[in-house]
């Protein structure tokens, strides 16, 4: 089963452009990342620049509207993510607990939708999507 661990750092929603984690924080996180990799559960991971360097697009009545960050009314934003492959939701939670996160951070665990999770009509419509991502070919139901 695949899960995403979503890092939600409080305050990141108003972080200035160019905000960087400290070398110490990066070193601690790298140790954790290495442990995920050693255990064979790590599929991918990325850190995200703050929303002040991003944008949002809304689709009201089908018309796209772009708004540049930061988004002052928002209370939670992503700081980064890991994608892991584990045997159960409990195992994913155990890994999240081991993250060297601080008191102002939350990790949200979310299960990734697999091709096999969808009913057959949706699977038919999705045919070819996993081929767009060769590294995921193994997740396609045979």
């Amino acid at each position: 089963m695949r899960f995403m661990m979503l890092m939600i750092p409080k305050g990141y929603e108003v972080a200035e452009a160019g905000t960087m984690p400290s070398a110490d924080a990066v070193a601690a996180m790298m140790k954790y990342n290495e442990s995920l990799k050693k255990a064979g559960v790590l599929l991918s991971l990325d850190g995200l620049h703050p929303p002040s360097m991003g944008a949002r697009v809304t689709f009201d009545g089908g018309k796209p509207k772009v708004t540049d960050g930061p988004f002052t009314e928002v209370k939670e934003v992503l700081g980064g993510y890991w994608m892991i492959q584990v045997r159960s939701r409990e195992e994913a939670i155990e890994w999240a607990k081991r993250c060297p996160a601080s008191a102002n951070e939350i990790i949200e665990i979310r299960q990734v939708q697999e091709f096999a999770d969808f009913p057959t009509d949706v699977q038919k419509a999705l045919d070819g999507f996993t081929d767009m991502q060769p590294h995921l070919a193994h997740t396609k139901a045979s």
Binding site: A96, Q113, H138
Partner: protein, 143 residues
């Protein structure tokens, strides 16, 4: 540059409802265009937060809270990772995306950190570990 294109949750996605045929076909066409233009690197849908959990950290304490989580607007339903020349290019592509839901919805665009962004903050050893980790992830054969 890489961007995470985040599809925000809606009451529909949180209810675990399936997308309809028309929407799936429109998304399928859009994904094909993304691939044809070398934009798409990855993309996934996430199960509703009712199947998820959150971990709160306080010193050595860990508190687990099961989903669902109330603030639908702040949750995510799915994502892509795209490779684009600039934030403007990412915005232009998002504008072409079919509305992911048959209701008001939102897509957030966030730039992904690259090693070069860290500059002097990163020691040569850390830099090397990070590069090695990335290389191994790319070459990893899924089980």
């Amino acid at each position: 540059m890489r961007f995470m294109i985040i599809i925000k949750a809606t009451p529909t996605s949180e209810a675990g409802a399936m997308p309809d045929q028309k929407l799936l076909e429109a998304m399928g066409k859009f994904n094909e265009e993304l691939v044809a233009n070398g934009i798409m690197l990855a993309g996934e849908g996430l199960q509703a937060s009712s199947k998820g959990a959150r971990v709160h950290f306080k010193g050595n304490d860990r508190t687990i809270i099961d989903g669902p989580f109330a603030e639908t607007k702040e949750l995510i339903a799915g994502f892509w990772i795209w490779q684009c020349q600039s934030l403007d290019e990412a915005k232009a592509w998002v504008k072409r995306c079919p509305n992911p839901f048959n209701e008001e919805s939102e897509i957030e665009i966030r730039q992904v950190f690259e090693l070069e962004d860290f500059g002097d903050e990163i020691t040569p050893e850390l830099r090397e570990s990070e590069e090695r980790l990335r290389a191994e992830l790319t070459n990893r054969k899924p089980n």
